[in-house]
């Protein structure tokens, strides 16, 4: 094709160089593609990097720790988690510090500008600006559109009722960890475990329903508050239990605290007196002594006891407060709260049997309850003659009010000792773990005795008409400087209702009450008894107990032997 031959050689050389350029171009393409592939791989790597959007460090899991809601037995909230926005800044992402300071100080006029500027200026990844704001404030700040300013939702425990169930619920600390009451109990039971496993983050847990009835709780709280002022007492406490199931329906101990501001819980004297306080509960022990004696078979309801003169133990001499100075029938011993009669009753069965019965009805050790705040009762393992004598009417031994309540429940419910609980429980579950401590007949007799005391004895103020309340007062002189004081009293009223078919038992405690007015007294009937009556009057209708004024109901309580 070409004109002359000499050019063929040159042409050939050119062809080979040309060929070379082609292969070199292909090599160049390959190199270029390798570089672009590196770029692409790097991009994919960057895309798969998990960016921790906010570097909160260690604090974050605790901040968002979620707790289960606590509900009362009717589903009303007692403790809930609310999400509150907390404002933080990422100074290294803030573009214009001046603008941010300007906008934020408009929203928070009280915030120190200099402090704010120092806070926002710098290269830190995270600083708190203000914690626990309202949703409205969050909305307004978001509208400002300041880069590098953001919110985290913090879980905050909120107790809608405030003080009302303080000693039951307890409190949580800043990190949402339970530090007292049921909150602490639940943490120990499960929340702590979940948090450890990392499951309790940003997750709403199943609400925990309690046995508490908020309405009853509230009524008791109100009445005890009223008692504090009415009798100028230093403390007042109460607890109510369903005798069929052991469920605690209400539990109040005043003074209490607001779980929303738990710092107050640490103040002196704010312990839970129902479970963490032990007291000489005085005459409220007498029905227990009576039950022990009757159940032993060595004492009959028809027996009589000589109370003409005080009982002498060496240099000790024990008399009666309302001394009748005559022979008393067993019901009269309870009705007049005779110490002498009770000692005789105890002696009839023997102190060993009496001591064993106290163990049987759960007076030893600490009360059984979910709350961590508990104390151990103080009862001598072996009673001396005089020790047994004083113990029979409730002196010389300290027990918690909850233990007294548990025993009373067993006395009136047919003899089943059921451990108290703050969680719902049905009758079948209650019976499955119960213990027969007295027989039905003894229980019937005790109900008669308690009802009798409420009709004719010291319990009159505690028994509003129609609710068939039965109960026993206890007025214990407090030990001051090693001696029993006669004006510093701890007054107790233990009761149950309705006596024809007991459903609830209650213990009310008023510590160092004064006379309400000139005409009234300062023994238990005047305060603890009266409070009991006011509470029952309020809550019995809520609890579905129909008032019944038929005298036949009371008549049927009387044991056959006495008719």
């Amino acid at each position: 094709m070409h004109e002359n031959t000499p050019s063929i050689a040159i042409d050939g050389a050119r062809k080979s160089r040309g060929h070379m350029t082609k292969s070199r171009i292909r090599l160049t393409i390959a190199i270029a593609m390798v570089v672009f592939a590196v770029v692409a791989i790097r991009l994919v790597m960057l895309a798969t990097v998990q960016v921790d959007d906010v570097t909160l460090g260690q604090a974050r899991p605790a901040l968002t720790a979620t707790r289960p809601a606590l509900l009362d037995r009717n589903g009303s909230p007692l403790a809930i988690d609310i999400q509150v926005p907390s404002l933080f800044a990422e100074p290294r992402r803030i573009i214009d510090v001046d603008e941010a300071v300007e906008a934020l100080s408009a929203e928070f006029p009280t915030m120190d500008r200099k402090w704010l500027r120092e806070r926002l200026d710098g290269d830190e990844g995270f600083v708190w600006l203000k914690r626990e704001l309202t949703p409205q404030q969050k909305e307004r700040i978001l509208r400002l559109g300041i880069p590098g300013i953001d919110f985290v939702s913090e879980s905050r425990r909120f107790y809608p009722g405030g003080n009302v169930a303080a000693h039951i619920l307890g409190a949580v600390n800043v990190d949402n960890v339970g530090i007292a009451g049921l909150e602490r109990h639940l943490d120990q039971r499960e929340v702590a475990l979940l948090q450890d496993l990392g499951f309790a983050r940003d997750r709403s847990l199943q609400p925990v329903e309690l046995s508490i009835d908020l309405r009853v709780q509230h009524a008791m709280h109100r009445e005890l508050e009223d008692a504090l002022t009415r009798y100028q007492a230093i403390a007042a406490a109460g607890v109510m239990m369903n005798v069929q199931t052991g469920e605690i329906v209400a539990l109040v101990s005043l003074p209490d605290f607001d779980p929303n501001m738990p710092a107050g819980a640490l103040e002196e004297g704010r312990i839970n007196r129902i479970t963490a306080g032990k007291f000489e509960l005085g005459s409220t022990l007498k029905p227990i002594t009576a039950a022990a004696a009757l159940d032993s078979g060595l004492v009959q309801i028809t027996d009589e006891f000589d109370a003409t003169k005080p009982v002498q133990f060496g240099r000790f001499r024990i008399g009666d407060f309302h001394a009748k100075k005559r022979v008393l029938s067993l019901p009269e011993v309870i009705k007049y709260s005779s110490n002498i009669g009770t000692i005789k009753m105890m002696q009839a069965m023997g102190k060993e049997r009496f001591r064993a019965f106290l163990t049987n009805v759960g007076m030893d050790g600490s009360p059984v309850i979910e709350l961590p705040e508990k104390t151990q009762s103080q009862i001598k393992d072996k009673f001396s003659e005089v020790g047994a004598a004083t113990a029979s009417f409730g002196h010389g031994l300290s027990i918690t009010p909850l233990q007294l309540l548990t025993a009373y429940a067993a006395l009136v419910n047919g003899g089943d000792l059921i451990a108290p609980t703050l969680l719902p429980r049905d009758r079948i579950a209650a019976l499955a773990n119960s213990k027969k401590v007295i027989n039905e007949r003894t229980s019937d007799q005790i109900r008669y005795l308690l009802r009798l005391n409420a009709i004719e004895g010291s319990g009159r103020k505690a028994a509003p008409d129609g609710y068939r309340v039965g109960g026993k007062t206890g007025t214990a002189e407090k030990v001051v400087d090693g001696k029993y004081s006669d004006d510093k009293l701890l007054n107790v009223f233990a009761s149950a209702f309705p006596m024809d078919a007991p459903q609830y038992a209650m213990v009310i405690l008023v510590d160092e009450p004064k006379k309400e007015d000139e005409r009234s007294g300062h023994t238990a009937a005047w305060n603890a008894g009266a409070v009991t009556g006011r509470i029952i009057e309020r809550v019995a209708p809520m609890l579905g107990i129909v008032p019944n004024l038929d005298p036949e109901l009371d008549a049927q309580l009387v044991p056959v032997e006495l008719r």
């Binding site: 292909r26 160049t28 393409i29 590196v38 770029v39 895309a47």
Partner: protein, 397 residues
């Protein structure tokens, strides 16, 4: 794509009527043209993400850089299309003129130039600021390709020597500005050209050694290079604020991006509209978009090189390769800097970054490349077969 376009331009582009436009349309490489327009479009889109923050920060109206970017699209596309109408001889002549004029202007920058960020690279011309070195780059690529191809054709001509002389001249001025990035790019273009022209591996090894020595020298001679390098090797010590922000922007978007206007890190990125537009856009449009953009750039480079090796004419082949190498190198360096894989150096992302001179200069090079890659009648006349098919046949043989 063809159907609609064909219909619209039916008369002007008809094969039967030999209008210049029709001839251009049927001979220009349309996939490459489409890819280049795609890059320009991506540039506008990314400008919306990257520019407002920078503009507001330096006190201009929010859309200042975006509007400028769009205005500069007009001359850019004009130069691109015009360049693609040039024949290889016209292209050579134009490149020669541009090389002379822009080199002169580049020398002038040393005396009357505007100093920006420590370098004198800019010159004010009729109200516009111009960076002559941007134009010198493609012009040099074309002239070097011509000189080398001439020597390959006629070994007695001093093509290589002349090329080296021009290179030393340009590099000298660039280093005086100083502009290490452009120097590197010009030298690398020449190296690429040498490689493609088929020099022996021995020469490549020797030149590679010299360039390593050159980089080392740059490290010790220029304080800002030293700083950047140190900061890259040891992130704690140095000031690598820009790179850190760029990386943050890349990370914050994830696969799908935060969405237009949502990027945070870009706001703190000083060169979000220029050298770091890729990172800035990543935060808003996501890594998938970035992968697409990288693929588009890779396609442009691969397509140009593919077209280069199809060329029968040695000059065309070398010139196309040189422009493509330059384009690819510039894009790669920018991408690698954005991804913090190499130390930072001032290099725009071709056709995407904001910057009038850069865009028009790239368009100048790419326009000539489009012109050179047009299917030429002489290629089809000789064998009666279309060039592409013939080339494929040669491959097999």
């Amino acid at each position: 794509m063809c159907c609609a376009v064909n219909y619209m331009f039916l008369r002007e582009f008809s094969r039967e009527r030999k209008t210049p436009l029709a001839e251009w349309w049927w001979t220009v490489d349309r996939p490459l043209l489409a890819a280049l327009f795609g890059l320009l479009a991506a540039g506008v889109m990314m400008s919306f993400a990257a520019s407002p923050a920078v503009a507001v920060r330096i006190g201009l109206s929010e859309w200042h850089f975006t509007i400028r970017h769009i205005i500069f699209l007009v001359p850019t596309i004009g130069v691109l299309i015009a360049g693609s109408f040039l024949s290889s001889k016209q292209a050579r002549r134009l490149a020669f003129v541009v090389l002379i004029v822009m080199s002169a202007l580049m020398v002038l920058t040393l005396f009357i130039g505007t100093e920006i960020k420590g370098s004198q690279r800019w010159i004010s011309l009729m109200g516009f600021s111009l960076q002559p070195s941007e134009f010198v780059k493609p012009a040099f690529a074309i002239i070097a390709a011509w000189l080398i191809s001439e020597q390959m054709r006629a070994p007695e001509l001093p093509g290589h020597l002349l090329t080296i002389a021009i290179l030393i001249g340009i590099a000298g001025v660039l280093l005086l500005q100083p502009d290490i990035g452009q120097t590197a790019l010009v030298v690398l273009t020449w190296a690429g050209l040498l490689f493609i022209s088929g020099i022996s591996w021995w020469v490549i090894l020797v030149l590679g050694g010299i360039s390593l020595a050159g980089i080392t020298a740059a490290y010790f001679m220029f304080p800002h290079v030293t700083r950047r390098f140190d900061a890259f090797l040891n992130p704690e010590t140095g000031d690598n604020y820009q790179v850190e922000k760029a990386l943050q922007s890349l990370l914050e978007g994830g696969w799908f991006g935060l969405g237009p206007g949502e990027g945070m890190a870009k706001r703190a990125l000083p060169d979000a509209h220029a050298d770091f537009v890729f990172s800035a856009a990543a935060g808003e449009f996501g890594i998938l978009f970035c992968l697409g953009l990288v693929a588009l750039i890779a396609f442009v480079v691969a397509r140009c090189m593919y077209l280069a090796q199809l060329q029968q004419n040695l000059f065309s082949r070398l010139a196309i390769s040189a422009i493509a190498v330059q384009f690819g190198m510039q894009a790669c360096i920018n991408l690698l800097v954005n991804l913090n894989l190499i130390p930072p150096k001032g290099m725009t992302l071709p056709f995407v970054s904001s910057g009038g001179t850069s865009m028009i200069a790239i368009a100048f090079g790419m326009g000539i490349l489009l012109g050179l890659t047009r299917r030429k009648p002489e290629h089809t006349i000789q064998s009666g077969l279309p060039t592409f098919r013939m080339a494929a046949g040669q491959e097999v043989a």
